[in-house]
């Protein structure tokens, strides 16, 4: 509080608000000490402090009231409590049976099947070798990756926000094509998995919300 005008060394009385806050112990420690020293030698201010203390005493004796006995039950009846802990809810999303797990693993690996079949078919040709296929495949992935990076950069330049571009180029240049291939596979697998989860969620009746009584 900066409404001061009270100089302890002088004969001036502290303002009434200061005496009142002093009576409540609400001044800063230094002010508290200063006012205490003044009050000890000034009957006028001592009377002011006593009057404040009387009001504070009366206020502090005000009791707390008790609500009606049925109050807690009345509140709980109006509140919906999700009584299922987070961990239990998380577990519900996981498959419950061996068949369920098989389904999940199947769903996750299914996108790889056409890739494997395609590779097998390609390698069955006498002209196609593993190293040749690898060279061709990685070349394609690299080209695609660069096209994406170039597209992003072009878009960024168009929008005028290019501060982060050099950083992105530095990062992109360091990504091996194999990582990009794995990342693409993961995205496909996650798409399948989330589709499966959503389907399962929609079929499960919601049992998580209960009325408390």
């Amino acid at each position: 509080m900066t409404r001061g005008g009270f100089v302890p060394e002088s004969r001036m009385h502290p303002p009434q608000w200061m005496l009142d806050l002093f009576a409540d112990g609400a001044l800063a420690p230094r002010e508290q000490v200063e006012v205490e020293a003044h009050v000890a030698s000034c009957p006028h201010c001592a009377a002011e402090v006593d009057a404040s203390r009387m009001v504070i005493g009366a206020l502090s004796e005000m009791p707390r009231f008790e609500p009606a006995p049925g109050f807690p039950d009345a509140v709980m009846a109006r509140v919906q409590i999700d009584t299922v802990p987070w961990a239990v809810r998380a577990r519900r999303w996981l498959p419950q049976t061996r068949r369920g797990w098989a389904l999940v693993i199947g769903a996750l690996t299914a996108p790889l099947v056409p890739v494997v079949v395609l590779l097998a078919w390609l390698l069955s040709h006498p002209m196609v070798t593993v190293s040749g296929l690898w060279y061709w495949g990685t070349g394609h992935v690299r080209d695609t990756a660069w096209n994406v990076v170039a597209g992003v950069i072009a878009a960024a330049i168009e929008r005028g926000n290019v501060g982060w571009v050099p950083e992105l180029i530095a990062v992109a240049a360091r990504i091996p094509p194999v990582v990009l291939l794995v990342a693409a596979g993961t995205v496909v697998a996650l798409t399948f998995a989330s589709g499966w989860s959503l389907n399962r969620l929609l079929r499960t009746p919601s049992g998580g919300v209960a009325h408390a009584h």
Binding site: M1, T2, Q16, W17, D20, L21, D24, A26, A51, S52, V55, I56, A58, L59, S60, E61, M62, P63, R64, F65, E66, P67, A68, F71, P72, A74, V75, M76, R78, V79, Q80, I81, D82, T83, V84, P85, W86, A212
Partner: protein, 204 residues
């Protein structure tokens, strides 16, 4: 849900407010009930002295707890739980006062009595003994000189003074609850006590 005192009940009673909130969030009814046990009297007392009508105060205190519990996932643990619940209780009470008397009870709080006659005139909600039993109870509970005097304070002074002297909250927490600067709280409380001095002198 409530059986004899088990280890978990003992742990609930010993838990801090924040711990209870964490348990309540994970669906523990015991945690909700312990928070109710801790705060039903403080919340009801504050709201009752704000609206000065027991029946309405019961409804508003219920409303406070329902709001708190339904939004418990939004509670920010960097604030004290008590500050949060008192803030909601005070807002609920102020809304009710504004609905009841939109002209005299504004944020500026124009209505406050200083003389004994004004105090008497302002006692619209404190019924006489010949009314129904609930109103008689109100008259007994809020009929004392200090209760009457507090009832004449403008709402923001009343909130500050009740939090300070009935709930024993520090000035800093009252500032947080009322969403005003610390200096404003000091002014509210000092002016409220100053008005009370005058009113009590007239009533005695």
């Amino acid at each position: 849900m409530r059986s004899g005192p088990s280890m978990s009940n003992v742990a609930t009673i010993a838990a801090t407010d924040s711990e209870l909130v964490v348990r309540a969030r994970s669906g523990s009814e015991a945690a909700y009930r312990e928070l109710l046990a801790r705060y039903q009297r403080p919340v009801f007392s504050l709201v009752y002295r704000m609206v000065r009508n027991r029946e309405q105060a019961e409804d508003l205190a219920q409303e406070t707890f329902v709001k708190v519990f339904q939004n418990i996932t939004r509670y920010d643990p960097k604030y004290k739980f008590s500050s949060w619940i008192f803030k909601i209780a005070n807002n609920v009470a102020l809304d009710a006062l504004r609905r009841r008397n939109p002209v005299t009870i504004s944020l500026d709080g124009a209505a406050h009595a200083e003389t004994a006659e004004q105090v008497e005139a302002s006692r619209t909600d404190v019924a006489s003994e010949d009314a129904n039993p609930l109103e008689a109870l109100e008259a007994r509970q809020l009929g004392g000189a200090i209760e009457q005097a507090v009832g004449t304070l403008r709402p923001e002074y009343r909130t500050a003074i009740l939090l300070r002297h009935v709930e024993g909250r520090p000035y800093e927490e009252i500032a947080e609850i009322m969403d005003v600067p610390l200096g404003t709280v000091k002014t509210y409380i000092h002016r409220a006590r100053s008005e009370l001095r005058g009113t009590l002198a007239h009533l005695r």
